[in-house]
Amino acid sequence: MLLEVENLELAYGEVPACRDISFGVGEGEIVTLIGSNGAGKSTTLRGVAGAMLPRKGRILFNGEDVTRMPAHRRALAGVALVPEGRRVFPALTVRENLEMGGFKYRNNQGKIRTLIDRAMEMFPRLRERTGQRAGTLSGGEQQMLALSRALMSEPLLLCMDEPSLGLAPMVVQDIFRSIRAVNQAGTSVLLVEQNAHYALETASRGYVLQTGAIIASGSCDALKQDQRVKEAYLGRK
């Protein structure tokens, strides 16, 4: 397993947002965490990326215990998070945002140029906007930028937090196609999505979160047939 999460508990102040969460992501896999708003999906993902340190439990990444490791060191170890709401640096240009994503290659300008070229091949729209402030981009363009920025560090594990949020269906399809392409190129993906349709189509395995705990898990094909998942998230009986 590339990522192993054991009995994770994360809390905002005194209030636990998720309890006793255990799951894993294998090398080359796309794994999804689904669940309704407030189920603790984003919190779990932030825990994996190190944006929040856990109260209990253990996180193993690439054979290393990263439980107490701060976010910036986890990024260098190969975890990249595309945060909820994109969180591009609004006053930096598109190019500067990408450069920040490649911070660990800051002493290798050639490498950064190659990676930026690759990002712009993936999303030609970004090429037209290189010198533009990221804050002026549309939501879809920002999501493309946020994804490309995360890929600049050539991560082993790409964590995506609600990539479909607030985007037009066409753009969402584009983003999910890119996620699959990234995965086929060898990057493992941990996908958090409210839109269970998209998530279960894209991933191979999934975990269902409810009020901070995992209530079901299995292959996506099996989850699609699961009665609770059908009723709660796929909107059919």
Partner: protein
Amino acid sequence: MTDLLALVVQQSINGIYLGCLYVMVALGLTLIYGVLNQINFAHADFVTVGAFAAFFTVTRLGTKLLGLPDTAAYLLSMVTALGVGAGLGLAINAAVFAPLRERGDELRPLIATIGVSVLLENFQLWLFGPIPFQFDSPFSRETIRIGRIFFTAQSVLVVAVSAVSIAALYAFMKFTFLGKALRAVAQDRETAGLMGINPNLLIALTIVIASALAGMGGALLGPVLVLTPFAGATVIVKSFAIVIIGGFGNVQGTIIAGLLVGVIEAFTVQYLGSGLIDLVVFVLLLVMLVVRPTGLIAERKEENV
């Protein structure tokens, strides 16, 4: 040249000189606010420490120990003040601010800046006593005359040093990887961390840059201040006003506001009398707070640095 034109040019030059002095102090305040979202009440004391470092470089280290001419000693004093400011900033951040920030508390680091201020003032009071030191710049004695316009070599030096500092800061922020990372941390600290940027390192760097500027500002201001352990306090209130007029955390706005306040002061002295300087500046501040509370250059906060 008519009398009026000569007067306007003369006072503008005086004002720009004064404004540059303010900018050197205010820039650090605005940088720290922009990146840390925190007001540094100890900033004035970094100016004082810089002024004392410069004073002793001129009177002891430069002229006595190294046997330099006083002009060279004064130039050297700017470098030592810069270094002492940077070193002090680094040390105080590591000893006080960083451990408090680590606990994730916003209020404690703020209060700590007041504590550091009191500490530095009293430490200097113990070292240097309350009697003002006479700090003269050899460049103040050189007067340059162009037609009917007069200015000192000191004012040329101050404007040149400020311009170079501002240009260097701008180039650093705009063109270097570290400078861009600093802006990223200012805009979104958590996301910057996700990029592999260590926010604590860049916060330390910000404090070092701000303190270095304050220290060098002390060397430039020394000759116009009454040099006591509380000297920085006399410019810091106006610097806060400038930072507010320019828009808290906005580097560009702060530079413009600093120059503007300098020029307004010079003309106030000419037409209304020097006793009214503070009144005019703070009326301007109040008007700004009412009319344009976001500062001269209104942008969203995260886009400033």
